[in-house]
């Protein structure tokens, strides 16, 4: 913090904020739906980011003189009077801190040491970055950049990011390249690998506890089953065996446009094999045992494909952005529990903005999304669906939840936008007065404080509601 104050006194300061009030007369927490799959608009909460850049040696154009600067970024998702955390600095984090230098040893190469990041851009309507690499890494990075070609290579340690409570060194390295062809086509490809080596004697290093059954683990019954099979022999429970762990992510990017009304299209793809978990603690009869579940979590993969196209229908009068995405998360170890690691989802969003004047705009947006669980029911379509968790019949010992494996969500949003800096769907700052409506097949598909139990002693009635409405007054700015 002292560093940040010191830097702020003389630094070039940039940042981002969004703050809003969304009175919700239907008992919600102010967000139209659960998450950004339905478009970021009205589905995100408050956020603030401040980045400081202190130039120590400035760039001298046309020379090979070294230059260097320092960046520090603090950010977090809370603002006073806007959410439950009240803008507390405890919810802010120093998310980036690094030193950059150029013209040292190699021309057109920027060296970076500290927190790293490599990205091909984001899906603006979703606020998602499918091709993010190295964001979990503290280390060193080199970026060769010319007008047409960019190559980035970085390496470091991702242990604190991947396993913050069970730190162990996770070596990681990434390479990414991007080529621009004649200003109208961009191609990018990259990948990142992780290796967590075996360390004898380190409880946070990867191990395998032999013989754990997946279902027993998720039910918390590994120890009780052992004792049942081996009465009085809990102390003989198998010891963990050291091993290695690895994971990786590959990304691709195609961008093109710059012809007439077609401003630009981006297509992002990523495929990741997630890093295995470390250990979980299970208790039996007052004894606690660490179960190493790496072998039960090492077949999780995530496929993501997303695209966004920006169109200028009538210059300075009417813009349109169309976006879509598809995601497929697989967990090869899990055949029984519905989770976010084992589902398919897709979504489409269209936003149109009409400029009544350079400053006053009309915004309309609509989205449609479907999420499908691979392992059975996970959504409650009705307020009494606790009784219908398994083929229409109650199953008190079941691992499913609700009465459907599919959630379909439609949202419509519209309102007035004031953009002091003029036209542009992504021009900020924006002051917005918006109304949003959602229909979901899931009952009460938004953050809320409803009592969901069907217990006869429930003092509050359960509610059946598939439509949700919010009015929003909000501001968003990059600065």
């Amino acid at each position: 913090m002292i560093l940040l104050v010191g830097l702020a006194l003389s630094a070039d300061v940039g940042g981002y904020l969004r703050v809003m009030t969304r009175p919700d007369l239907e008992g919600g927490d102010g967000r139209l739906g659960y998450w950004n799959l339905y478009g970021r608009l009205l589905n995100e909460g408050p956020y603030a980011a401040l980045e400081l850049r202190q130039e120590i040696l400035d760039q001298k154009p046309g020379t090979l003189q070294p230059w260097t600067d320092v960046h520090a970024k603090i950010e977090g998702g809370t603002v006073a009077n806007a959410d439950t955390n009240g803008g507390s600095l405890a919810w802010m984090r120093l998310s980036q801190l690094y030193v950059q230098a150029g013209n040292i040893g190699l021309r057109d190469v920027t060296w970076r040491l500290g927190t790293l990041e490599q990205n091909y851009g984001d899906l603006g309507l979703y606020d998602m970055k499918p091709t993010l690499l190295l964001h979990d890494t503290l280390g060193a990075q080199a970026r060769y950049r010319t007008e047409r070609v960019e190559v980035t290579a970085g390496l470091g340690d991702a242990g604190w990011s991947i396993k913050p409570d069970q730190y162990n060194t996770v070596f990681t390295g990434a390479v990414a390249a991007r080529v621009n062809v004649a200003g109208h086509l961009e191609l990018g490809v990259g990948g990142q690998g992780y290796l967590e080596p075996m360390v004898l004697g380190n409880r946070n290093a990867p191990h395998v506890t032999p013989g754990i059954d997946y279902e027993a683990w998720v039910r918390g019954e590994v120890l009780s089953e052992w004792v049942q099979a081996h009465p009085g022999q809990l102390s003989e429970f198998p010891n963990p065996e050291p091993t290695h762990a690895n994971s990786w992510k590959g990304v691709g990017y195609v961008g093109g446009g710059g012809f007439g009304a077609w401003r630009w299209t981006t297509v992002y793809a990523s495929y990741a094999r997630l890093h295995p978990q470390g250990y979980v603690t299970e208790a039996y009869d007052g004894d606690e045992v660490e179960l190493y579940v790496g072998e039960l979590t090492d077949e999780r993969t995530q496929l993501f494909v997303g695209s966004e196209t920006q169109l200028t229908i009538v210059p300075d009068r009417w813009d349109v952005v169309i976006a879509g995405l598809y995601g497929d998360n697989q967990d090869g170890d899990n055949e029984i529990v519905p989770t976010d690691d084992d589902r398919t989802f897709f979504s489409g969003v269209v936003r149109t903005q009409v400029y009544l004047s350079p400053v006053v705009h009309l915004l309309l947006e609509s989205s449609l999304a479907e999420e499908v669980s691979h392992n059975g029911n996970t959504y409650r379509e009705h307020q009494d669906s606790l009784f219908e968790s398994n083929g229409g019949a109650a199953d008190a010992d079941g691992l499913e939840y609700g009465d459907s494996d599919t959630r379909v969500t439609w949202q419509g949003k519209g309102g007035v936008v004031l953009n002091p800096l003029g036209p542009g769907i992504y021009t900020r700052p924006s002051l917005r007065l918006l109304y949003g409506v959602q229909y979901s097949t899931q009952n009460n598909a938004f953050g809320n404080s409803f009592v969901e139990t069907l217990d006869e002693y429930n003092d509050f009635d359960t509610v059946e509601r598939h439509w949700h409405n919010v009015v929003a007054l909000e501001a968003e700015a990059w600065f």
Binding site: Q59, P61, G121, Q310, L356, V360, V416, W478
Partner: protein, 173 residues
């Protein structure tokens, strides 16, 4: 909601200060990239925004551009020396020199932030009025570079140019 928007859209900005008869003013817009020594032309939309501000004030702008104008400005980025270098091309009218220096900052929450350093200088009759400021701009795509950054800074720069002109005209310039 639509009625509110329409009524807001009908609000017109106040006209700027005028000062007497139409007068000529030479305008030179320069883009100084951080990785290239050569001074080059600014984008067309930037030029249009600056010229628009000049035209609104009973001034008749003449845009001086191209290698012939900018080549003498390349060897030195000091404003006073550039004004001296421009002197042979200028007539008796004043000159408005707008220098832009876009520098990449970082990727910030999904957009590419650039800082465009700007120096607006108006020289006329041996007097100069100058204003230096930075304009943060955010570009949506990675392939958008210096030209796009200067283009995005146009609304803010034009407004500041207007302020410099108003100060000059208000002082009897």
């Amino acid at each position: 909601m639509v009625l509110i928007a329409l009524s807001l859209a009908c609000l017109k900005p106040a006209p700027p200060a005028q000062n007497g008869a139409l007068r000529p003013l030479a305008v030179v817009n320069v883009l100084d990239a951080a990785n290239d020594r050569a001074a080059v032309d600014t984008p067309d939309r930037f030029d249009a925004a600056v010229l628009g501000e000049v035209s609104r004030r009973a001034l008749v702008p003449t845009l001086l551009q191209g290698p012939e104008t900018l080549a003498p400005l390349t060897p030195n980025r000091e404003t006073s020396q550039r004004l001296r270098a421009l002197a042979p091309q200028m007539g008796t009218e004043g000159v408005l020199l707008v220098e832009t220096r876009p520098v990449y900052y970082s990727e910030l929450n999904g957009q590419y932030r650039w800082t465009v350093g700007v120096v607006v200088t108006l020289a006329s009759g041996g007097q100069t009025a100058s204003r230096a400021f930075d304009v943060p701009v955010f570009l949506r795509y990675h392939h958008e570079r210096e030209e796009a950054a200067v283009d995005a800074a146009s609304p803010v720069v034009a407004r500041k140019v207007g302020e410099v002109l108003d100060t000059w005209l208000g002082g009897g310039g």
